[in-house]
Symmetry: C2
Subunit: 200 residues, 2 copies
């Protein structure tokens, strides 16, 4: 038998949550976001972004931590790398910025694990694909999703303008309307993992 990679998951209740100063979105509209993306592309070339799949368990089923902005839009914690920045270090930086207390002594132990998906943005548009489409020689963004292995206990500080939700895989699956194409297919990308669900 071929061994599956293992992810230890701990109950949501083993983590503690506080708040910190708001982290406002840089853009107030999709059009603004695409315009800023274009400007950055002209300065720095293709954007590389990294996002984290943070797993917990409840009722013996894996849940993913998502940041909710306003009442509907959900995103994975992560963000854009600086030009030339290492992916693993950049993702740790982004995770601390989004989810850690400000004190350097209170940083979670971010163990960056497997890359599970790569998405490509061929044009300055919202649509992305899980491959670089044929005839696209200059994609505008490459987004990589990593599993991040959480330790048994951590403290997360959530920006006051965001909510941190633990969403079960069964809620994400086949729910592109609510979560979009990237997040709604995370259950398929995690299906090859064996979840070692450790009770509290």
């Amino acid at each position: 038998m071929v061994a599956s990679p293992v992810v230890n998951t701990y109950p949501l209740s083993s983590y503690s949550f506080g708040t910190k100063e708001p982290k406002m979105e840089k853009d107030t509209s999709v059009a603004d976001r695409l315009a800023r993306m274009k400007l950055n592309y002209m300065k720095e070339g293709m954007r590389t972004s990294v996002e984290a799949i943070l797993l917990v368990q409840e009722h013996n089923h894996p849940h993913i931590l998502l940041l909710q902005i306003g009442n509907t839009f959900c995103k994975l914690p992560g963000g854009r790398l600086k030009p030339g920045e290492n992916e693993v270090e950049g993702l740790k930086r982004k995770l601390s910025s989004k989810l850690a207390a400000n004190s350097p002594n209170m940083q979670p132990n971010w163990q960056i694990g497997e890359c599970v998906a790569v998405w490509w943005r061929p044009n300055f548009e919202t649509i992305m694909y899980p491959y670089c489409p044929p005839h696209i020689s200059k994609p505008k963004e490459c987004k990589k999703l990593y599993v991040v292995h959480l330790s048994e206990r951590e403290y997360f500080a959530v920006p006051k303008n965001l909510k941190l939700l633990a969403v079960p895989l069964f809620e994400l699956y086949d729910n592109v309307q609510r979560y979009g194409p990237v997040i709604s297919t995370i259950p398929q990308q995690l299906s090859r993992f064996q979840f070692n669900m450790i009770s509290g």
Copy 2:
């Protein structure tokens, strides 16, 4: 940077194709199939099936080999393991049964690679999920998809009642209506791979 796993892909034209005796489907209807599944479950317990993602390239884009039955239904080559059978050996056996010439000297070099997805059938029904749903303690089937690394040249013998198609990832993506939930999300599951497309 974290290294992506590499898949070498060769042009479709570097493979040759012949035919062999038909391999008929064991069931003539979905109801028959589910009834046979139930009978086998009572004798042998949970069914484990293994399927192969065989990759070729055309026009600098990865394509997957699918077997077409009749005019519409497509499936991956593979099938059910015997009770206790090793997954890798079982997949090689199934691939040879579906796609190899009958001569033992003409077997392709099936290099079974990464498991990219695992699907679960909770009940004797057609619906499957990329996780074992909560409260399901006795799933009826576990289906595993493996990348199979093809050598540069091979001869495939296709059963006369089937057609072997090379379908581009961009055709599978977001096309659940045509290919179903398992095959249509293969592009997402392959997105973490780096395709080393070798020209003919």
